[in-house]
Each structure stands twice: as C-alpha cells, then as structure tokens.
C-alpha cells in the first residue's frame, strides 16, 4: 500500500500542506469558509525548520504506536487500512497520547477537550497535504519503490557516479 513520504530536500516551508490539512478538517472543507470558521479548524501536521532542514512533520501511523497503546479510554484504534484513528466520542481529554507521541503531532482541541490527530484523510485517495504540496516534498509511494530508489542513489554515490 502506498504511504506518505517526506522529502525534506524539496520542502520550502511554504505551509501549503498545513493549510490544506486545516481546510480538509473544517466544517465546509473550502478555504474561504475555513478562514472564517470560529474557532479555526486545526491542522494535523506541522512544518518545522531547523539548521539545514525544513520539513512537514506528520503522523507516521506507527506500527507500534505509543499513542494507541497507551490510550486509556478506547478512543484511538487502528482502522482496516492500518491508520491510527479516533473514536472521537470516546476521547476524555487525558492527553496521554500527547505525552507519549515522539513526533509531537497530536494536539489538544481546547474547545472540545479532545485530542486531534491525522486521520490520513481516509476518505480521500490522496491526502490533502500531499495533494497541496507544490514541490512534491510530500509524495505517495510504495515503500519498496522508495527503498529501491534510495539504494540506487547510495550505490551511485558510493561508486562515484551521479
């Protein structure tokens, strides 16, 4: 199955992915109404920058997900696609998931007092963030393809080719 891959070397930190994510998770799913929505819709991924790197940090839907394992209310679950999702009505706002997520991609909806996280746009073929990325820093790909591509690049580099 295709996964979201991040290619930091292409990221310009334009935050188009963040905007698209918030719009996708707004009431009407249009930019215009999302801007006016009160309280504003929340994004689920976070563009960060540090010395020599820019990249969106997204939920990995970890195979061994600390958030899911430690959820004390039965809110977080793994759906049939393998995505870590919420049963919103079961969230009691205990923030155990926030405490244990090593990527910092779960946040707190301070109005509804529930945890907010990436649902991998499970209703869309291509997640909103990937669709919005103008430089293809976010792409959908088969993990095997990416691995093969990386191996080839590493070999080329090692053998002095380009």
């Amino acid at each position: 199955m295709k996964q979201i891959f991040v290619r930091p070397d292409r990221c310009m930190a334009c935050r188009s992915c963040e905007t698209a994510c918030a719009v996708q998770h707004s009431a009407d799913k249009t930019l215009f109404s999302a801007v006016l929505q009160e309280p504003p819709p929340m994004k689920r991924l976070f563009v960060g920058a540090a010395e020599g790197i820019r990249m969106p940090v997204i939920c990995r839907h970890c195979e061994d997900a600390p958030c899911l394992r430690a959820c004390i209310s039965g809110c977080l679950y793994r759906d049939d696609h393998g995505f870590v999702r919420r049963r919103k009505e079961r969230c009691i706002g205990c923030w155990t998931c926030i405490m244990l997520c090593p990527f910092g991609v779960i946040t707190r909806d301070s109005e509804k007092h529930i945890a907010v996280k990436c649902d991998r746009c499970h209703k869309l073929d291509i997640p909103a963030c990937v669709n919005a990325c103008p430089t293809r820093a976010l792409v959908m790909a088969e993990p095997e393809e990416v691995a093969a591509d990386r191996r080839q690049k590493a070999l080329l580099a090692a053998s002095g080719g380009d």
Binding site: G48, M55, R69, I98, M99, C101, H113
Partner: protein
C-alpha cells in the same frame, strides 16, 4: 501450552493479547476477582459523575483473542505443582503464569475509616458504590490530593457536592507538580468550589447515625456525608507471600519480567523494578507502564526474549479543571547537580530538569504541545548534545533531531 494470568487489568489483558498473537493454540485464562472485566481503570471517576459513562472496551477483546475469563479469587500459588489454588481449594494447572494483580488502595490507620460511607476508588465497584451512596449527600471529604483524589473530588463536585480535599503534604500532587504548578492547579480547583487543605492529616472519621464528620489533627472538624480515601496504592502481593516467589516492594522480577521461579512472570503495578532515572527499586502504579510490561511479559512467556529497561514512576498526563498537565521524571530533585529551567507565561507554566545534557524532569502545565518529544527524550535516555540549548528553551520539536540525532530521523 496453558497460560494463566492473575488479574484482568491492562497488564493482564495486554499480556493475554500478546500471547495470542504469538501462539494460536495456547489456552489463555485470565482469573479476575472483579465482576466487570476488562475495563479502562483510569476512567472510573467518570462513573461517579456521568450516568452514561462507558468504561468498558469497545468490541470484545476477550472473544476476539479467544481469552477465557474466570471470575474467581486466587488464594495461593503452588509453584512446585505449577497450580493456582482458587477460592474453596479448587486448583488449576499452568505451564506459564503471569501475576498481574495490580495494586490496592492504601488505607491509613485512622479511627473510623472502616465505617460506612467511607470508600476507596480503585475498581468499577468502588465507583458505582460511591455513586449509589450520593443520594442526599451535600458534603464530602477526600483524603489524599493525588490524581485519584482530585478526580474523585471533581466528579463529586459535578454532582453538586461540596468537597474538601485533605492532603498531608504541603501541596497537592506531590512529586508530580512543583509548588508553583500546584498553586496554579489548586486555584483552578478552588474556582470550581473545591476546598483544599494541605499540610493537614485526618485523625479520625466520626460516625453518628448516618452522619459522618472528619476530624483533622489540628482539631478542626469537617462535616462530610461521604469520605473517599485516596491515599495512594501499593502492590497487591499478599496472596504470594508463602509461594516462594520473591517479593520486596512488589513482586521481584528480572529483566525479562520473570520472577525467581521459572515460568512465573509478573507485570504492571504489582512489580518491583528499577526506576529508569535513579536505578532504585520502585513501583510504578501507572497504566502506560503496566501496558508496556504486559506486552513484554506476554511476549517472553510465549518464548521471546525482550528486556524491560525500567519505568518512570512519574509519567502522568491529565486535564484538571481545564488545565492540561504532563509530568514525567524527577520534577524536584532532592540531590545536587541538577539544573532547573522554569518558564511561565500567560496560561502556561513549564519546568525542565537537566543533569549534564540529559533530561531528568518535564513538567508542562496549560500548554502540553510537544510534551511527547520531551517525555520520549527522558524515557529513552537520549543525550541532548547540541540540542541542549534548544531543549532548555522549551521549544524543541521533532525537526531538530533529524540532523543531530539521525536514528530518530531515519523514518524520512
């Protein structure tokens, strides 16, 4: 292979599921003395305040994983015979045994504490018992200002009851919060109408007909229609005293979570293990630690060899009176050599404790964003190196690691 698991809490259930994933044909039986099993124990305060609260698991994990449940009491473990002795002397044999009995509330030696109207809050039955006793109650006292006591107080408060929390130490949530954070949380509780008496101990609970009053050591008397005792928990190990299984603070286990008797394991609150930060023997009392131990013990019982590194006895997340809290590690070190960075702003208080370039304590109040980054650094004992300054600023994010700590960034 027959697996018996004593205790149906998160450690027991997680172990059972883990065993099933590795062994399709195993007989797996959980023995639990609780009528409701399994359920989300940290949620039980909700049963007091909300008639519609559901603390049971979604779906049917026992059915799905073909785990048998035996509602019974284990009275003794006959380690030599590899049998557990149940109430009434009946016996059940096992190949592998997991002790996951959890912990039980500490009952302070106070006159009148065993009388009617005095409750603990550990099980679904306890919570439902409190709820059933609420009729006509206008005032309540909670002994203990830890998380359980505060959650009990808030639940009773939502039922319109006037609550007083009595905490022996100088602040609520000792070890979890520092004095300033305790002050912030106490003020929020006070705004909800909860009275907090710190530095006070209860010397007696007086019963007069249906009426109850709590007498403090200072001599003052507080009327209370109901008392909740939330003075902490301790490992439930009495059953195993004469079984040959080594105990200390809890059941003593090695790195594989196996006891001194081969084939007998322990996981969760009942375990004595080393504190990840101090290396000293400790007990955990925390859900997420119990989950982790259940997973490791279950895997090892089914033939794996996974090492448990230890736990943090303080690793809590909560929201109290609209204030989100994450607290992990050593918040107020008693020894020299630590460096503390404090940052307070509107709606936010943070305390970070370092020694060298290692993080030892994390306290986030009001704004818990990225708390997981810090807690994982703490829990996994990752040296900060070049990130030290960034970490101290409180603004450390995942992106900062990608270049400096490559192993964490390989998932790119």
């Amino acid at each position: 292979m027959d697996y018996i698991i004593i205790g149906g809490g998160i450690a027991g259930i997680t172990a059972a599921k883990t065993i099933r994933r590795r062994d399709r044909h195993a007989g797996i039986t959980i023995i639990s003395g609780e009528k409701v099993c399994p359920y989300y124990r940290p949620m039980i305060p909700l049963l007091i305040e909300d008639d519609d609260a559901d603390v049971t698991y979604a779906g049917d994990p026992l059915g799905k994983y073909e785990i048998a449940l035996l509602h019974d009491r284990v009275e003794h473990v006959a380690a030599e015979e590899r049998e557990v002795v149940l109430a009434g002397g009946r016996r059940r044999g096992f190949d592998r045994l997991l002790i996951a009995t959890g912990s039980r509330p500490v009952i302070p030696r106070i006159e009148g504490i065993s009388g009617p109207g005095v409750f603990t809050l550990r099980t679904v039955d306890d919570a439902l018992g409190i709820k059933a006793a609420l009729h006509g109650v206008k005032k309540a006292a909670v002994i203990g200002g830890g998380f359980v006591g505060i959650k009990a107080a808030l639940a009773l408060c939502r039922r319109g009851i006037e609550v007083t929390i009595v905490e022996q130490l100088g602040q609520i949530l000792p070890r979890r919060l520092d004095a300033r954070a305790a002050e912030i949380v106490s003020e929020a509780l006070a705004r909800r109408g909860i009275r907090i008496l710190t530095g006070s101990a209860v010397s007696g609970i007086m019963h007069d007909g249906g009426r109850i009053a709590v007498r403090l050591e200072s001599g003052s008397i507080t009327e209370a229609g109901l008392v909740v005792v939330a003075a902490g928990v301790r490992p439930d190990i009495e059953t195993f005293r004469d079984s040959g299984i080594k105990t200390g603070l809890g059941i003593r286990v090695g790195g594989m979570l196996e006891t001194n008797i081969p084939g007998i394991y322990a996981a969760g609150d009942v375990v004595e293990f080393r504190d990840l930060l101090t290396g000293r023997p400790s007990v955990s009392g925390l859900w997420s630690n119990a989950e982790e131990m259940g997973r490791i013990a279950g895997a090892n019982m089914a033939g794996d060899r996974i090492k448990f590194g230890g736990f943090l006895p303080v690793m809590n997340a909560a929201e109290i009176a609209d204030i989100p809290i994450v607290s992990a590690g050593i918040i107020e070190p008693l020894e020299e050599g630590y460096e503390t960075v404090i940052d307070e702003g509107p709606g936010r208080y943070r305390r970070l404790v370092f020694r060298g370039d290692m993080l030892y304590g994390v306290l986030f109040i009001g704004d818990v964003r990225n708390a997981g980054i810090y807690v994982n650094l703490l829990k996994n004992r990752i040296p900060l190196g070049a990130l030290m300054e960034k970490a101290a600023s409180g603004d450390l994010r995942y992106v900062h690691f990608v270049k400096t700590h490559p192993p964490a960034g390989l998932a790119l």
